[in-house]
């Protein structure tokens, strides 16, 4: 029971104090779980994080579920997940209640008139950084361009676009595996 509560507390702290989303949280998790409590060896932790990062859903929640489950089974997973999300829910509930009450005040409206274009910039910037890090070439540039055209211009549901992209990526992934296997075989043969 003690370890379950400790898991809850650890992720509660992480949920309550990390700003900037999932990836900022990772070093805090490492510090608490790997360095301080030594619940999971470092190499296993990073191997698992590589898998957890490629899963869909909330990265922090996936991490909490994996760590919690690895250390204390189902109860641990539930405790860690609740710890990670409860601070968010409480803080946003409080803010949303207050904000929806006062958002029509002239002062608040003025401040948010300034904030909205900034939010747009904060969304566009990482998307372009991502295109760069994905090493998009002139040939593959069709993928982000088509995605934007479908969603923004033709108003196609993003869910459908993602499903098509997953199907395409699966084909790509399988082809890549084949190619790697062929290379390995050739290396063995001569």
């Amino acid at each position: 029971m003690k370890i379950v509560f400790q898991l809850f507390l650890t992720f509660f702290k992480i949920g309550a104090f990390t700003l900037g989303g999932g990836y900022a949280m990772l070093s805090m998790v490492e510090q608490a779980i790997v360095d301080k409590k030594k619940w999971i060896p470092s190499d296993e932790f990073w191997d698992m994080m590589a898998i957890v990062q490629s899963l869909p859903g909330v990265f922090a929640v996936n991490t909490a579920l994996y760590v919690g489950h690895r250390i204390a089974g189902r109860k641990g997973a539930a405790a860690a997940m609740l710890g990670a999300i409860i601070p968010s829910i409480v803080i946003i509930l409080l803010l949303a209640t207050v904000f929806r009450e006062y958002r029509n005040l002239p002062v608040v409206e003025r401040i948010f008139k300034g904030i909205r274009p900034c939010v747009v910039a904060l969304i566009l910037a990482p998307s372009i950084r991502m295109i760069k890090s994905a090493k998009v070439t002139w040939k593959t540039a069709i993928i982000p361009v088509a995605t934007v055209a479908l969603i923004w211009w033709l108003k196609v549901s993003p869910a459908i676009v993602i499903l098509v992209a997953i199907a395409g990526s699966l084909v790509y992934a399988i082809l890549m595996e084949r190619k790697m296997k062929n290379v390995e075989n050739k290396e063995v043969e001569p």
């Binding site: 990390t18 700003l19 999932g22 191997d47 898998i51 490629s54 899963l55 869909p56 859903g57 909330v58 922090a60 929640v61 996936n62 579920l65 990670a84 999300i85 601070p87 968010s88 829910i89 803080i91 946003i92 509930l93 803010l95 949303a96 209640t97 958002r103 003025r110 401040i111 948010f112 008139k113 904030i115 909205r116 900034c118 939010v119 910039a121 904060l122 969304i123 566009l124 910037a125 990482p126 998307s127 372009i128 950084r129 991502m130 295109i131 998009v136 593959t140 540039a141 982000p144 995605t147 934007v148 969603i151 923004w152 869910a159 992209a165 997953i166 395409g168 990526s169 790509y172 992934a173």
Partner: protein, 179 residues
């Protein structure tokens, strides 16, 4: 009825939300603003700002906010829970399945292939928010100040990796004095 809709929408986002909180923006926007009209486009922008500035995962913050707007206190709990539900199932099945080297390389190839599409998805969310409601019109059809804020914030974020919270606070101060 609204609870069922919230449950369905956020389970879908939990399953299809590859690539973190920002990648979910397009999905959330499409459902919340276009499909169900739970929020206007300005309220959506405000919500993103608030979710960005508060601690905790951005996507949980957004789910809580959307749930509260659409269905009150219970709606907020339901939306956040629905977003986590697919992850709960995945941890038991997918992680075990992909715990080996072969599964791991397959997943990382899959994500590599998805990455350009996810980038396009995030970009589309930003473009959709670039409208007359969020970019205030001053005088005769001009929205210079909004565009100046947007360009400066973009340069600061993209080239100088400025802290997003600092940028939001600064633009709020500019808005307070300018409008």
């Amino acid at each position: 009825m609204i609870y069922l809709q919230l449950l369905w929408v956020f389970i879908k986002i939990g399953v299809l939300g590859f690539g973190g909180g920002y990648a979910m923006l397009s999905l959330i926007q499409h459902e919340v603003v276009d499909n169900y009209a739970w929020m206007t486009t300005t309220e959506f922008a405000d919500m993103v700002a608030i979710s960005q500035m508060t601690p905790g995962p951005i996507s949980i913050n957004m789910a809580t906010y959307v749930g509260y707007t659409a269905g009150g206190f219970f709606g907020s709990l339901l939306a956040s829970f629905a977003l986590c539900l697919p992850s709960l199932i995945m941890v038991y099945f997918i992680i075990r399945l992909f715990m080996n080297k072969k599964g791991n390389t397959l997943m990382s190839h899959l994500l590599k292939g998805l990455k350009p599409a996810i980038a396009g998805l995030i970009f589309a969310a930003g473009l959709s928010m670039m409208n007359a409601q969020n970019f205030v019109q001053i005088g005769k059809g001009e929205n210079n100040i909004s565009i100046v804020i947007c360009v400066l914030a973009f340069v600061a974020s993209y080239f100088f990796k400025a802290n997003p919270i600092l940028l939001i606070v600064l633009s709020g101060v500019v808005g307070y004095f300018v409008y």
